[in-house]
Amino acid sequence: MELDRESILKLFKTMATIRHFEERGIPETGQRGMSASVHSSAGQEAVATGVCANLTNEDYIGSTHRGHGHCIAKGVDPKLMMAELFGRATGPNKGKGGSMHISDMSKGMLGTNGVVGASIPLAVGAALTSKVKKLGRVAVAFFGDGASNQGVLHESMNLASVWKLPVIFCCENNGYAMSTPSEYALSTAHVADRAQGYDMPGITVDGMDVFAVYDAAAQAVARARAGDGPSLIECQTYRFYGHTVFDNPLTYRSKEEEDHWRARDPLKLFREAVLPQGDITAAELDQIEADAEALMEEAVKFADESPLPEPVELYDDVYVNYPRELLKRGVNMAV
């Protein structure tokens, strides 16, 4: 797949933005006492970036608890995301959702999700909307290696295959579900092997190489847009940190393993792949990183200066239509 210079730089910009969001936003969120539900996707940037670079604003994605990268790659504003993490009213979810529920329907971002596997059928459903309404859109379901053992993935793959839906099942195999190694929990060598059982193409790609991910996704997206049905892509990747900030990963994985994957940092691999070609300079990439860093400074400031939700907003958006008074009737609420 030939990418022009601008598109190549954009891949780097997206990855750098995700990296800086995680590196800055997560500790800042922790300092504000809201770290219970935050999962860093640092290390996995190439997956979200390579896949979403094939999507338009109208296409859909469903995401996971480790979803900041998916959001950014799909075009959600990091400033608004930061506000959501800080529990501010200016977040896309108005402070109701936080890290595990960031969503932005205007970007086709159907939500990060706190129940493992739960967003997979939502992406299948979005693909159904596209098919029924002849919208020409595709949907991507991102999920982890852990989620690949949930029944709902298997039912969703079968359903999407039977109905030939324009959906891409994208597994981010980072080797672990919390501390459980994927080689323990998976019956097959690769998540991609499971595609066979549902009559769809399944491939395993290097998830640290944004170009490899981009190419694999391009094929799957083309297949989906052509009406030929779903695909499964397994991206082999790694989370640089623990499951959350509370977890020390060295209790279940080795320093050598971490070093091996750190050496395959997707931003570093990008530089190694692109710079020798001479078309793009290190200075350009450095500038992109510096801009991403500066953007996070702005994002933190924006979030801190944003108002908190009013306590009574607790009752907003439970339903479209429901007697508000019944939400708290007879239970002696203070607000």
Binding site: S37, G87, H101, G114, V115, S179, Y184, G330, N332
Partner: protein
């Protein structure tokens, strides 16, 4: 205030010896260890129950010891045949634990947070709860599901719910809501030894709470509430952590001359209606404090039962302090208002006393 061990021992109908102060987390761990020592049919499974599964050869054992470290050390003592890390497949492993329990094992399975119940609810509701009945009494299902409840951690709507009320709705299931280290140990032992399926609810906000716990194994009765504070003006019923919201409110209200009796429900199925009725006969007023949402809740169940059975003794309407009929919001600005707290309890009590 916490219950004294003397009261606790009396409630258990036993004489407690070798008692020390330990955390809820440690009490749960000790109970699991003792029950597994006493009965080789007891096995435990769940996600991260040990952690780092399959890497013993690399020196990894017990990488997590449970998401909240309640199962730490079990795999070293009992081995991976009896302490099973599972793939992320709740429908399968909880269903399998139910199947194992109906065929000779006494399986304990952990659902990390009760919010995830949807993915495996069928196994509980249509299998665990009904097998014995549908099969005409041929099987026993001595299955325990351990799970977690509780808001207040900025964990948002899918990691903060307190869905215990729904379990009491299903005939065939039992449920317990321990509130401190003593009840955590005694009720877990009771759940494991019971021949019916029991759901055991741990509150995330109680793990570090320290209290007196006997060293030896002991069992608290399922379906029994306890009085943790005596009073004469009004009965407050607390559930899990809400019991301590009630006692804190009671302490404050005492300064205003209002004497609250506080009952710790401990069991959501069976429900100890008689214990509550008896207290209401004395106080003539009732407030139930429930962290779950209000409609068809434990709080509404208790209030309606009291209204039906001891109506003539009531001087004020049985009342509820609960979460509102909404999911749990993320931002603390909203979450702080979501949960029942002392001030809501106090306001409710004052209003009822002034009627």
């Amino acid at each position: 205030m916490t219950i004294t061990n003397q009261t606790a021992g009396q409630l258990a109908g036993m004489h407690a010896t070798g008692t020390r102060e330990i955390q809820v987390r440690e009490a749960i761990n000790e109970c699991l260890r003792q029950e597994m020592e006493l009965d080789e049919n007891v096995i435990i499974m769940g996600e991260e129950i040990a952690g780092g599964a399959g890497r013993q050869d690399q020196g990894v054992e017990d990488a997590w010891g449970g998401p909240f470290r309640t199962t730490v050390g079990l795999i070293q003592q009992f081995g991976k045949e009896r302490v099973l890390d599972t793939p992320l497949s709740e429908a399968a492993f909880i269903g399998a634990a139910i199947g194992a329990s109906s065929t000779g094992l006494r399986a304990v399975a952990e659902l990390m947070f009760v919010d995830f119940i949807g993915v495996c609810m069928d196994q509980l509701v249509n299998n665990a709860a009904k097998m014995r009945y549908m099969f005409g009494g041929q099987v026993k299902v001595p299955f325990t599901m351990m799970t977690r409840i509780g808001a207040g951690f900025g964990a948002a709507a899918q990691h903060s719910e307190s869905y215990y009320s729904i379990f009491s709705h299903f005939p065939g299931l039992k449920g317990v809501v321990p509130s401190d280290a003593y009840t955590a140990k005694g009720l877990l032992a009771a759940a494991i030894r019971d021949d019916d399926p029991v759901v055991y609810f741990e509150h995330k906000g109680l793990y570090g709470s320290v209290g007196p716990v006997p060293e030896e194994p002991y069992v608290l009765p399922l379906g029994k509430a306890r009085t943790v504070r005596e009073g004469t003006d009004i009965t407050l019923v607390g559930i899990s952590k809400m019991t301590w919201v009630c006692t804190a409110a009671a302490e404050e209200l005492a300064k205003e001359g209002i004497s609250c009796e506080v009952i710790d429900l401990l069991s959501v199925s069976p429900i100890d209606y008689d214990h509550i009725n008896e207290s209401v006969l004395k106080t003539h007023r009732l407030v139930v404090v429930d962290e779950d949402t209000p409609i068809c809740s434990m709080a509404s169940e208790i209030c309606s039962r009291v209204a039906e059975e001891v109506f003539d003794y009531l001087d004020a309407p049985p009342s509820r302090v609960t979460a509102p009929h909404t999911p749990v919001p993320y931002s603390r600005a909203m979450e702080n208002e979501y949960m029942p707290n002392e001030s809501r309890v106090k306001t409710t009590v004052r209003n009822l006393m002034n009627r």
